[in-house]
Each structure stands twice: as C-alpha cells, then as structure tokens.
Amino acid sequence: MSATENGSTPTGGKQHKTLDAVVIRFAGDSGDGMQVTGNQFTTTSALVGNDLATMPDYPAEIRAPAGTLGGVSGYQIQISNHDIYTPGDRPDTLVAMNPAALKVNLRDLEPGATIIVNTDAFTDKDIERAGFVGDPLKDDSLKNFTVLPVMLTSMTHTALADSPLSKKEKDRCKNFFALGVVYWMYGRPLEHSREWIKQKFAKNPDVVSANILALEAGHAFGETAEIFDTRYDVAAAKDVREGTYRRVTGNEATALGFITASQIAEMDLFLGSYPITPASDILHNLSRYKHYGVKTFQAEDEIAAVASAIGAAFGGAIGLTTTSGPGVALKAEAIGLAFMVELPLIIVNVQRGGPSTGLPTKTEQSDLFQAMFGRSGDAQLPVLAAATPGDCFWMAIEATRIATKYMTPVFLLTDGYIANGAEPWRIPEVETLPDLHVKFHTEVEGFAPYHRDPTTLARPWVRPGTPGLEHRIGGLEKADGSGEISYDGDNHERMSHLRAEKLERIARDIPDAEVHGADKGDLLVLSWGGTYGSVRAGVELAQAEGLAVTHVHLRHINPMPANVERLIRSFRRVLVAELNMGQLHFVIRGKFLVDADLLSKVQGKSFHVREILDRIHTLLGVGSSAPHHA
C-alpha cells in the first residue's frame, strides 16, 4: 500500500467520540518494545486521571524467533472515566506490529473492533510464518473489523531521515511511532513519554531525539492521515477516592509493602530469593532500596533462599522469601522447619501455570493446596491472597503483622496476572498504617523458649546477642514450655494442638470478608486472589439485572474470616470461581459441608467478566443477555 493510499493528506474534518471506557491491546514481536509502549500508555493515562487496569502477556522465551507466533508479546489496558476492576475481556483496538501479532490476537476481537496494523511487516515470508494463507490485509478475512493500515516502519524511517542512527536502531523506534498514533487517537498528551525517553536514554542523545521524533511523527500522522477519521475521548474518572495516586504493578506493590512493614515495625528486612518467573521483579525491586536498609540475598537455589530467610528471622529480622510454585515445592521442608521452630517467615508465591515448569509467564491460582497442605506432618499455616496489584501492598503488611505477632510462617499468594498488571494506587497516609511494633523478649527471669503468650500463643522471640537467654531451637519436637527435645507422645499431641490453635487465635484477629451485595439471596459467588476484578465486575452486572447475587472475595484463606460460614449458609447456592481445577472449592466443601458449584478456568488467563456473568445466568436459570462491556 502506498503512502497516498494511506491518506497522508491533511483533511481536518475529524470526528470526536466520547467513550466511557476502552480496551486497547498492543502486540508485536517480543523485541518490538510492546511492554514499554503499553507502560507508557498506562502512565500517561493515569496522569490524565483515567481509572485503568493492565495485563501484560509475554512469551516465556526472551527472544523467540522474530515473526513467529510464539514470540508475540502483548500488553492490554482498559482506560475509563469510572471505577473499573479489570483490563477488559476483549480489545476494542488492537495494534498489531506484525502478522504473527495479528494472528495470535485476532481470536480475541469482537466484530467491529479497530485494528491498527504495521503494513511494512506484512511480507510474504512473515505472513507465511504467522500461518496465514495469503495476505489477510488483501483478502476479506478482516472484513468484520475496521482496519487502519499504517506503514509504521517506513514512516518511522522517513521521520528519522536526518538521524545518525543505524537502520536497525531506527527500526527500534517504531514502537514510539505507534504510541504516537494511539496517543492521538485517544487524545493523550505526549509530555510524560517525552520526559521518560529523555531520562531513559540520557546517555545517548541521538536515541533520545530519534524516539521523541518518532513519537511526535506518529502523533502528527494521526492528526493528518485521512484514515484516522475519529478521535476518542475518555475523560478522567470521577468516582474514585480523593487522594494522591501512583501507578503500581503487583510485584512493585509487594516490594513496597514489605519495606513499609519493616519501616513501621522498625525492623530489618531480609529477602532471600532465587530468580524465578514471575516473581523475580520483587527481588529486583527490593534490591533497589538498600538506602532503606533492605538486605537482599540472591541465593544459590530456592532452598538456600528460604533457609537464609529463616536464619535472618532467627537473628531477629523480618525474613522474607519470594518465589513461584516450583520454588515453593523446593522450600517445603524448610517452611516446615520454620513452622516447627515457630519463627516468623513470609513466603510469597507469585503463582503461575503449573504443575512443574508449566506455563511460567501465564497466570493461575493452582498453588492453594500447596500453600495449605504442602508439608510433612500436621502443619497448617496462615495463607493470605492479594486481590489486586495495589492490594499486594496491604497484604504484604498483613502477612508481616501475622507472622511477627503470632510467630509463624505465613504464605502470601499473588499471581502472574496481578503481579505484572498495573493499576492506579492511592498512596496511603503514613499515619493510617497499622502498628507493627515487635517486642523482642529480653527478660531473663522465667524465660523458656516455648513459653507462650496466652492470647496469641506466640513463643518469645529472642534476638541472639541478648545476654542470659542463650537457647536452642530445632526441628525436633520440643517439650511444651521448656523447649527441650521431647519424644513424648502426649507432649507431641499437645504441641500439635497448640500449633493448630494458633490459627484459631489468628481468626479472631482478622477482619470480616467484604460483602458486595446483600447478605442473603440466591447465589453467593466466592473468589480469592487475583480474580477479584473479573468476579466483582461480573457480579455487578448480574446485580444490575436485578439478580440476588452477592460477591465475597477472600483475602484471608487460612484461617477464614469469621463471617464466611454464616454467609455461605445464607444463600441458596454457592459458586466458587477460581483459576484452577477446584482448590478453594474443595476446601469450602470440606470445611462447611456445602454442595458448592465450581467455575474453573485453567487457560493461563484470568476470567473474562462475561464468563462470570454467563455462569451466574446458568446457575440461576436466567437466559443469556446481550453482550456487555465490562
């Protein structure tokens, strides 16, 4: 397609349309810079004041062969003028940088969606590599969509004609050209990205000016090209709480949460970790906060990572280890040790598709059983799950609170979806943060290592270095109180019950689960972890239809909040929605002897809002309604 056909003549007569929300997906080769493009669009939209939610989707291979389906990297964002919960089910606009990106994402598009394609990438070779029979831009395979063909690569080169960069370097600027086009389409300012480019490439002024030129050229192209006849406005969100906001991903929020916990507890934070997708970013983030006294230790393996955190906890620090499912499997024995010696330890599992290596870059919630039961002996320990990217911050603090107050290891489950997803996050005032102060035991008189606090059942935490309190702990069963080694059966039974009783004490010290809807009715939808947004949005649609449906989302899974049982018994039916084959479902049925239904999904993706609504309809015998946009 030639430049003339692209309609590069200025015309002026552009339409304006106002939208409440829009879903945009950027897709290209994993080397095309789609994550950067998506992140830029996200921050700019946040600064404009939209509510938003994002979902990066990238391949496990760092650089799969160029142009292949396996190498497609995507980034989806929903922006809106109101409070939203998800990155959207299906994109309204797709930016496809090559045939493979088009091929992979086409199935997610509804008829009528807009597709911006980089026509320069549609060579015979790449069309064939993507598995198309013939050029999809030239036959009628895209007839149900609005296709906006742009010669992204060659127009980037034209814009950079005077730049001293090499051809290859200029090629790399095309994502900013694409971003400029999309910025124009949705009326976004360029300032933030200009500044970001200046800082990011500060060491190379030629790269700075080239990327800014590409961005501006893309924007100008949108302004002038005939094919871009409509510009969309998505106003700032009005129904969000007053305050100062920033953008966070779940992994960033997790890191911030633990540093905050250590600051308000006035304790050292020690992270022992071994790189693993999708948890490594927590290690990366925490490593950058050394001036907050954070110690990060990249261990030789998952076992050493957790063992070092246990050693640090023995020394009186907040001991943290971060990993994903396969890493937890390796840590299991050490977690059992922490449970037995009753030291605070926090294990963060950023869940991914399993079992085994599974789907490293895709999301799943299939490690709940592992968190609850994955140890030898009777060793149930607290399990928490963050609901959203921003909630990771709060749950990191909550995990630290429970671990240090009750002297127990605590699991915090997040998942790839919220770990990599971003949302606006309201920055809390320091004064509103909970008190996490820990009192180390220093009193020599009457000290015994397993002499418990009567309320929490926590044993005393003594920092080595405290005179007169030298004592030994270990994985062998200990005599109640004295902490001497004991093989006595009655003592073991008593200690087993004491350890289990701790969970009951924690149950009295956690908030009720939030109830979205009436506290009785036809259907209770239960969910946990990162599916909060989709389930909440689906239930709200059902409620808008007048259905007697309520949503309860669990952030404390073990123990469960006190109101959960009453709620479960107040509804005609209970549906558990989760991204596994029925793990919370199994727990709920076992714990409450209730015949709960299950909505299970294990496709490496979170729920579509539509899937939640459809199941609600089915369960309540309601006919399917018209398509919704969530």
Partner: protein, 341 residues
C-alpha cells in the same frame, strides 16, 4: 565501681545442661570439648555466639553448646547460617556439619558459602560414614565400602572435601583430627580469627560404623610417619623430621632429609597458589602422609562486610530512606473529586 575480679568465660560457661547423647567413644565428644575450650579464648561475649547445624550426628552439636543454637534441616545449615550472618554481622556464627550433611545433601550450600566468603566457621566432621541412619556409605567413603546399602561394596568414588573447597574459591581450609586436641584448638582459633568462610575438616572416628578409619593417623606406632603437620613458613617435614615433601612437575615426592638434606623440601605457604594447596590437601595414605593444620589462609572480600558497605554507600548517596518518599515514588497525580464513602 564494682570490685568483681575481671575473669573471662571458661569452658564450663559453654556447656549446656543437655545430656550429651552421642555413642560412647564417639569422636564428636572430643570436638565438642575443643570447641568449648576455644570459644572462651576469643574475647566474644557468650551471647554473641550462634551454632547452626543440619542433620546427622553432628546435628546435635548446638544442643550441647550453651550459646544461641539452631538445629535445622538436612544439608541447609550453611544456608541458614548465611542468612543469620548477613543480617547479623555482629554475631560469631559456627556451623557444625558432617560429610553427608555438607557434601551430599548440602553440597551446593557448602560450595556457595565458600565462594561468597561470608564470615562463618564451618566445622566438617568427616567420619566417612552415615552414622545416624545406621551405617550407609557416605560421599567421603572409599570405593568398595561394604555397608547395609552396599553389600557388594560401594561403587562411587569419594569427594575430597578440601579439594572441593579449593575449587569453590575458599579462603581458609584446614584439617585436624579428633584425637589431637591441642592441634584442634590451634586450628579452631585460626579459623575463628579468619575473616571470611573457614572450613575445618575434622577427621572423626565413628567407633560404631566405621571404626579405625583414621587409625593410621592416630595410633602411636604410625602417626609420626602418617601425619604431615603443616605450618606457615616451615618446611613440610614428617616422621620426626626425617622426611620431607617436595614437588616435581606438580607431583609430590618424598625426600629423605637425613640423606639428602632440606634441599627440595617445600616451605609451607598458606598464601601460596591454589595448585600448591591442592597438592598438599591431596597427599594421602598409603603413598604419602596426610597434611593436618592450616593449608590455606588468604584474604578475600567478605560477603557480609560488603553487603553492609553497599547499604552504607546507598545511604550516603541517597540519604536514609524515608517512608513518605517510598510510598510516593516518582510519578504521582492528585484526585480531587470525592467519592461518597
């Protein structure tokens, strides 16, 4: 002003009230006694010692020391100790481990502790057998060992702990013997004073499952000819000075000092090249005497010190982190409209 006499802690102060439960005649008793003699010599308050162990007969060690102690899980003592020392550089951290614990299930952590050179002291009780599980061969057992799990003899070749340590870039390696208490105390003192990871291999007799494994080194009739006591700056002499060790094309040779004099006898250098330390560490029965003493002691960057230094540098560059700044991050925006709460 108090009038109490100034007196440091003694061996008794380091004995816990726990009843020691190793088999009668076990070499571990001697190691325990020498450690309890050594620690009071270091001028460190008792409450600043932490003894970490894994699983095996050596795993019980912390229970008998009246210090802070942690009996952890199989093979992981070095990793737990690493976390403890990294977060608490003010503590004197000791690891009690065995040939199974440190070289089989925990081999990885031993290697990495040594290369990191974190300031901990690892005491490796090498009895060349699995004692606590009742006598299976260990990774340091000789080939052909007949045990409960190897009725026709073991097939695997042994690992040599000090050679492995040298391959792991260790800065301090030494060897001593349970039956040489004075020598052991000298070696332990050196290990304690070394900055960085020190590995002390202790030949330890298991009189139940592997009795007399080191008798050639401890029997009065043979020990002089079998022990090569290495000391920095002194020639490698044994057999009451009648024989020496020299090296020819990297190959050790025994020199008859009475006949040929000291010419060609190597002078021990703790700071010498790794290849030399490897050659000394690998001298063994029946062709050579076995080296005991400090084989290698060199300075190297110490992990926990460097970790602290990085934090200090970060604070110096950026100022001590403040919670408000942490929460705010770099890019923020303000929402003024209120949502009815």
């Amino acid at each position: 002003m108090t009038t109490e006499p100034i007196s440091g802690p003694t061996r008794d102060d380091f004995q816990s009230s726990n009843h020691v439960r190793w088999c009668p005649g076990c070499g571990d008793y001697a190691i325990l006694a020498q450690v309890q003699r050594t620690l009071p010599e270091l001028g460190i308050p008792r409450e600043r010692f932490a003894v970490i162990s894994g699983i095996g007969c050596s795993g019980r060690f912390p229970y008998y020391m009246n210090t802070y102690g942690f009996h952890t899980i199989h093979g992981r003592a070095a990793a737990v100790a690493t976390g403890l020392k990294a977060s608490r550089p003010d503590l004197s951290v000791w690891v009690a481990t065995g040939d199974g614990d440190a070289l089989s299930i925990g081999g990885n952590h031993t290697m990495h502790a040594l290369r990191r050179n974190i300031d901990i002291n690892i005491l490796l009780f090498n009895n060349q057998i699995y004692g606590l599980t009742k006598g299976q061969y260990s990774p340091t057992s000789e080939v052909g060992k007949v045990t409960a799990s190897t009725p026709m003899g073991s097939l695997d070749r042994p690992v040599w702990p000090l050679s492995l340590a040298l391959g792991s870039n260790a800065t301090f390696i030494a060897r001593t013997i349970d039956r040489e208490p004075k020598h052991m105390v000298d070696v332990l003192l050196r290990a304690a004073h070394h900055k960085g990871t020190s590995l002390v291999e202790v030949y330890q007799n298991c009189n139940i499952f592997n009795d007399k494994a080191f008798s050639h080194l401890t029997e009065r009739t043979s020990k002089d000819a079998e022990q090569l006591r290495v000391e920095h700056g002194k020639p490698l002499l044994f057999d009451k000075g009648r024989k020496g060790i020299g090296f020819k094309n990297f190959q050790a040779v025994i020199i008859d000092v009475e006949k040929d004099g000291l010419d060609g006898v190597a002078i021990h250098d703790e700071q010498g090249p790794v290849a030399y330390h490897m050659a000394v560490a690998e001298l063994r029965h029946p062709h050579f005497p076995t080296a005991i003493g400090v084989i290698r002691a060199v300075d190297g960057p110490v992990y926990d010190e460097r970790m602290t230094a990085q934090i200090d540098l970060a604070v110096k560059k950026k100022g001590r982190g403040e919670l408000k700044a942490l929460l705010a991050g770099e890019t923020t925006w303000r929402v003024h409209t209120t949502l009815d709460a």
